[in-house]
């Protein structure tokens, strides 16, 4: 697997200064400079090291259970009249793609000599994945989670605690993912020497967007290999993924960005409708600005205050999008669609009944847009099934008609 592949020739990947086109950078207060500088200087060197790669690959295989299957969804394919494959990140240990990144970052933190790990979480999947690797490595773990999210994702809160993590509620602002991220950054400012911050998405200051995308790039690496086995060629016609901050999409798109014959489809959360005032469709509602130390598209008032997004899915409830995705949107390389809460619930039920797979509400957003693509019977479509739906059962049941 090549998480350290040279992407310097690509206009869709990060450049030497930490930008994707006009997006990215590191808009950090001076208090964070030594930490971020250390990561910028060292991350490529560390992840290129053969001993790092070996340890990373071994853990992904034996601990996470990779490669995750690429499953041909026969009944779903019949319904949408195309060849639909599901990349089964839901079958990973801890139930989502998030663990790919936390394995990578905990190995990196160890090599940097860090003793304490902090993380933010929305749906709780990244928090669980972080608590898991901290238990595995015997490191202290503190997870910040919006107090609203703590209520709607109770099972994941319990899992984090059982795994030995301290869960601290973020009670400022909208009390969701954005605020949990603020609190984690503040913790890092207050603990600059011994602490590593494991960001869960392709957001934050450079090098996080690229570093997280690289750890998640195993998703598209495997898709290419698995498609060769199943269809005879590595490139599908479409790759679809949901986008909140955009980590599973970054991983699913990573090795396809420069294969322009592959259509990349990013599905954002429309919430109750893009123009309802209760939405998280950042590409449609956002303007360029700075959120969490990165220049990107974000939802904001005309005077630059970041607004509170809405999505039924806690993992997509974020008012920004990673700078890589902002650039994919601005360049037109990826098609940005959005799915409402209701469409996503329906897609979750549909996959459950057609394939016997209960998807995470986040992943259901991607599935919800199969109906909107002009698919032909010979089209090969890969949908990144980023996580499983156990954590969302209560929400699904509440909306069961």
């Amino acid at each position: 697997m090549d998480i350290a592949v040279n992407t310097s020739q690509s206009k869709y990947h990060v450049n030497k200064k930490g930008y994707y086109g006009e997006f990215g950078g590191a808009y950090i207060p001076e208090m964070l400079y030594p930490n971020v500088e250390e990561l910028q200087q060292q991350y490529m060197q560390i992840i290129s090291d053969p001993s790092f790669r070996q340890e990373f690959e071994q853990l992904l295989k034996d601990y996470v259970g990779r490669p995750s299957p690429l499953y041909f969804a026969k009944r779903l394919s019949e319904k949408y009249k195309a060849k639909i494959y599901l990349k089964r990140e839901d079958l990973n240990h801890t139930g989502a793609h998030k663990v790919n990144n936390t394995i990578g970052q905990i190995l990196l933190a160890k090599r940097l000599g860090k003793k304490r790990i902090i993380a933010e979480t929305g749906a709780g999947q990244h928090g669980v994945a972080t608590a898991t690797v901290c238990a595995l490595m015997g490191l202290e773990c503190v997870v910040y989670m919006g107090s609203v999210d703590i209520q709607r994702q109770a099972p994941n809160v319990a899992r984090m605690k059982m795994l030995g993590a301290t869960v601290i509620p973020a009670t400022s602002g909208s009390k969701t993912l954005k605020d949990a991220t603020n609190e984690a950054i503040r913790d890092w400012i207050n603990n600059p020497v011994d602490t590593h911050y494991i960001i869960g998405s392709v957001v934050g200051p450079h090098p996080y967007p690229d570093m997280v995308a690289r750890f998640q790039s195993v998703i598209s690496e495997e898709i290419r290999q698995q498609l060769v086995e199943k269809t005879g060629k590595p490139d599908p016609d479409y790759v679809m993924a949901c986008v909140g901050g955009g980590s599973n999409a970054a991983g699913a798109f990573f090795h396809f960005t420069d294969a322009e014959n592959v259509k990349l489809v990013a599905v954002e959360a429309a919430g109750q409708g893009v123009n309802s005032g209760y939405s998280a469709a950042t590409s449609q509602l956002g303007r360029p600005g700075i959120i969490h130390a990165s220049k990107t598209l974000l939802m904001q008032t005309d005077d630059g205050q970041i607004v509170e997004p809405h999505s039924i899915s806690a993992g997509l409830d974020y008012p920004g999008v990673g700078p890589m995705h902002a650039n994919l949107y601005a360049t037109g390389r990826a098609l940005f669609l959005n799915a409402t809460d209701d469409e996503s619930l329906a897609a979750g039920y549909e996959l459950s009944l057609l394939e016997g797979i209960i998807p995470a509400l986040e992943s259901a957003h991607a599935l919800a847009k199969l109906k909107d693509l002009p698919l032909k019977p010979e089209d090969v479509v890969v949908v990144c099934l980023s996580g499983r739906g156990d954590k969302d059962l209560e929400t699904y049941i509440k909306h069961l008609k």
């Binding site: 001076e30 400079y33 400012i189 700075i290 205050q305």
Partner: protein, 256 residues
């Protein structure tokens, strides 16, 4: 000459710079508080432009920002409030804020308005030094505005030199690795303050974060040209029934 430079020329020691959030506790208190600070003997004022997600700030300043935004404070309103300021206030005024609202307002437009209303300097903690040098420095100079960067206990000597070279007015020395309003013990920072002092920077140094009373103020002044007080002042005026009196009492308490 910029009012900040003038101040340090006339009074190189024991500078008291007080921070408050614009539009707090009530929308139209801003100018009255600046006036009261001058009358009470503060040497400089740092006005915070409220932002929804102030990463470098602790809970006290974040809450004051949230309240100020609810009150209706925004950059355009602040410039309206500051219009007649210079007929009443002569001490230097520095605006502090985060880049996103400034970007949305338009950087040059913002700097021009600062110059028009008599602002002397800016503290934009999330503006990278490289970006300032490559994109904005000539604009700051065009409008006669000083740009003030931060150093922390973790900043290495080479970078402190670079920051000192790029900053104008003064260098803002963060007392400990923390967000604003944290109660970290300053006595462990002796070595850091000594190191800064020994470097003989071209700019004056003001120490901020964790300064909250006359003891911490004096301690900071022992090592530098003065200090910045923020969270403690914001807390003091939160429920004040008589701002004038509260400000006077607060400043007198610090200087006692």
């Amino acid at each position: 000459m910029n009012r900040i430079d003038q101040l340090f020329q006339n009074k190189p020691k024991d500078i008291l710079n007080v921070y408050c959030t614009a539009g707090y506790p009530s929308l139209n208190d801003t100018v009255a508080i600046v006036e009261a600070l001058q009358q009470s003997g503060a040497d400089m004022v740092e006005l915070g432009m409220p932002f929804s997600d102030p990463l470098a700030d602790g809970p006290v300043i974040q809450e004051s920002s949230t309240r100020a935004i609810k009150n209706g404070m925004r950059i355009s309103v602040l410039f309206e409030q500051l219009k007649g300021l210079r007929s009443k206030v002569s001490i230097p005024l520095v605006l502090m804020g985060y880049m996103n609202p400034v970007m949305q307002f338009g950087v040059e437009n913002f700097l021009q308005k600062c110059a028009e209303t008599g602002v002397d300097g800016l503290i934009l903690p999330d503006l990278p030094m490289d970006e300032y040098e490559s994109q904005y420095k000539p604009l700051f100079e065009k409008y006669g505005l000083h740009n003030i960067f931060l150093v922390t206990p973790e900043t290495n000597e080479a970078r402190i030199r670079r920051i000192d070279g790029v900053s104008n007015g003064f260098v803002y020395a963060v007392s400990s690795s923390s967000t604003t309003g944290k109660d970290k013990d300053m006595s462990h920072q002796e070595a850091y303050f000594q190191r800064l002092k020994a470097m003989n920077l071209r700019n004056p140094v003001l120490i901020g974060f964790g300064i909250k009373d006359s003891k911490t103020f004096r301690e900071a002044c022992r090592h530098s040209n003065g200090a910045i007080i923020g969270s403690a002042f914001v807390k003091a005026i939160e429920n004040s029934a008589n701002l004038q009196a509260t400000v006077k009492e607060f400043v007198a308490g610090i200087k006692s």
